[in-house]
């Protein structure tokens, strides 16, 4: 699914990702988020029919906090895959573009992102 770049949406502190998955780690600015429980003070996850909403509770508008070259980075596992197998861990970089568009890429070798 992630071999091609995916598109999503962003509004204020909300990201809409066009898939369901298991989140392992999300990095936004200097915040490293690993708590995805319903009581997490940083992130609230809501699954729609075929998309996932991420609400970043610490921010009013995420776009204002990221520069042109910065992304939100995440480690995820597709829902039907074995979460315990590291080969299934996928690193994504999410870029916020104009007109509420999101560009979701698998991180290439250049991007510095530690799982």
């Amino acid at each position: 699914m992630f071999e091609k770049n995916l598109k999503g949406l962003h509004y204020g502190n909300r990201l809409i990702l066009p898939f369901h998955c298991i989140f392992l780690k999300v990095v936004i600015n200097r915040e490293i988020i690993t708590d995805f429980s319903s009581t997490s003070k940083f992130l609230n996850l809501v699954e729609g029919t075929d998309y996932t909403d991420l609400y970043f509770r610490e921010y009013e508008n995420i776009k204002e906090t990221l520069s042109e070259y910065e992304s939100i980075k995440m480690v995820i596992v597709e829902k039907n895959k074995d979460v315990f197998d590291f080969k299934n861990h996928i690193k994504l970089a999410v870029y916020l573009e104009e007109k509420h568009k999101l560009r979701i890429e698998k991180t290439d070798d250049d991007i510095l992102f530690i799982e």
Binding site: K25, V27, N29, R30, I32, E58, L66, S67, E68, Y69, E70, S71, K73, F86, D109, D110, I111, L112, F113, I114, E115
Partner: protein, 474 residues
């Protein structure tokens, strides 16, 4: 950033506004450099500040230490306001109670110089991408750290840190831990840069005052080398025990690739501009009363040009962002302003106790204060105090040279302490904060201010500092 620019503008404006000053300095017309020198003797011409005005400085240090741990949300959103408000308290005290605008102008000059070199090195090196496709081993890491220590004497600790931190993290991505970053801060961002005046800002200020350029390497290398070897050995011991394995099937080409090498030209321009000071070359125009010189104009121009003309792919790969330099700019505007009275009181105290002070005391005093204050003005204040012991004046470059050759052990103690102890805390030296920020953005959990100090700096650095003291300065 606009808030910061406004503050600088206000301080500049107020500083140039004629205020009746009973203690006006006779030599205030001599230019930027002299202004910076005068700061060291401001206590002679101006009344000393009330010790209570050190409180904003203490509050700022405490908040820098506790904010990211105990009230992270508030701190992340409001640290610029906190730094500026606390800085303004000191500024207003100096303007309207002490009526001492000169100390403020000196500090503003030093701040702009500090931020110019830091931001230009940050942007120029941020446009260079180094890709090391090798398997991480303790020996390879030692090679990177040693290389960083050496080049920090050529492109400064800031330049070396910005250039190497990303490839260093990348190489270690499958086994990275906080200690990797902390040793990088110890070695590349601080102690490595002890050998030349370009290495670290305090040594550069000493050079501007008259310390010969190559005196530093001759006086410090035999302290630098064992300290560096000890740190590398400790690192090797710790890193060898890190058995975390990467992806075993991963194939390494062994190649090292560079992108954005045109930015080396910008780095060269920055390094050359470092020497463009009226006190070094008389043909360099003096822009007094402006609180900056030709050097700073060139450096800020490099920031603009290097960013505008940078390879976008490299910026994307480096996830280039001004936030780390913005954080340093805001926090240090508060630190520079609030530490004026602290430095003046310390300087005065050191002068009063001059006869009783030996190299060891200067080593520890300079070191401990450099860990928590900015090390550049701390260095100058203790240089001034130590020269005062022998009736020499830091404003006089012939005196500085005389002191360097006749009482060099004092200068060595102050130089070593100012640079080495900068590694003790995140705020001891400018690049420390930047390296921490870049690491966190890469997903690495870094220790808090206190954990860094207690778990890493005290057990690893303090024994080395004590050894240096016992062998060379006790």
């Amino acid at each position: 950033m606009s808030l910061l620019v406004k503050l600088i503008f206000i301080i500049s404006f107020i500083s140039f506004t004629p205020i009746p000053n009973l203690y006006a300095l006779a030599d205030a017309q001599t230019g930027n450099d002299s202004l910076a020198i005068d700061m060291q003797t401001a206590t002679v011409h101006h009344p000393l500040p009330d010790p209570l005005i050190v409180i904003p400085f203490v509050i700022l240090l405490l908040m820098i230490a506790t904010g990211p741990v105990f009230y992270k949300h508030f701190w992340e959103h409001h640290y610029p306001k906190v730094a500026i408000i606390l800085g303004l308290i000191t500024v207003l005290y100096y303007l309207f109670v002490l009526r001492d605008s000169h100390s403020l102008l000196h500090t503003l000059t030093e701040y702009l110089s500090f931020i110019a070199i830091l931001s230009s090195l940050f942007v120029a090196s941020g446009g260079i991408l180094i890709k090391v496709n090798k398997k991480a081993t303790p020996l390879l890491n030692i090679g990177i750290l040693l290389f960083g220590a050496l080049i920090s004497n050529v492109i400064g600790t800031t330049g070396a840190s910005m250039l190497l931190i990303r490839p260093y993290i990348k190489v270690n991505q499958d086994r990275i831990s906080a200690y990797h970053i902390i040793f990088f801060i110890f070695i590349v961002s601080n102690i490595g840069g002890s050998l030349t005046p370009i290495g670290d800002p305090p040594l550069f200020l000493g050079f501007l005052r008259g310390v010969p350029f190559f005196w530093v390497i001759g006086a410090v290398w035999f302290i630098w080398l064992p300290a560096l070897v000890l740190l590398l050995l400790i690192f090797y011991f710790i890193d060898s025990r890190n058995k975390t394995q990467g992806v075993e099937s991963k194939v390494y080409s062994g190649k090292i690739e560079f992108k954005g090498l045109k930015n080396l030209v910008y780095l060269a321009i920055i390094l050359i501009s470092v020497f463009l000071d009226p006190s070094i070359f008389s043909w360099v125009p003096n822009l007094y009363p402006l609180p900056f010189g030709i050097r700073e104009i060139i450096m800020f121009a490099v920031v603009f040009i290097a960013y505008k003309l940078a390879d976008k792919e490299v910026l994307k790969a480096n996830e280039f962002d001004f936030e780390p330099i913005k954080e340093v700019a805001y926090l240090f505007v508060g630190i520079f302003a609030t530490m004026i009275p602290a430095l003046q009181l310390i300087s005065n105290q050191a002068r009063m106790m001059g006869e009783k002070l030996n190299e060891g005391i200067f080593y520890w005093a300079t070191g401990i204060l450099s860990a928590f204050l900015d090390n550049a003005p701390t260095y100058l204040n203790f240089l001034s105090a130590s020269m005062g012991k022998y009736g020499l004046d830091v404003k006089n470059s012939a005196h500085v040279m005389q002191f360097t050759y006749n009482y060099g052990s004092y200068l060595t103690a102050i130089s070593v302490a100012a640079v080495f102890f900068g590694a003790t805390t995140y705020i001891g030296n400018g690049p420390n904060f930047m390296v921490k920020a870049i690491s966190e953005r890469a997903g690495i959990s870094m220790p808090s201010f206190f954990v860094y100090l207690i778990k890493y700096a005290v057990p690893i650095l303090l024994p080395i500092f004590i050894l240096v003291w016992l062998v060379f300065f006790s």
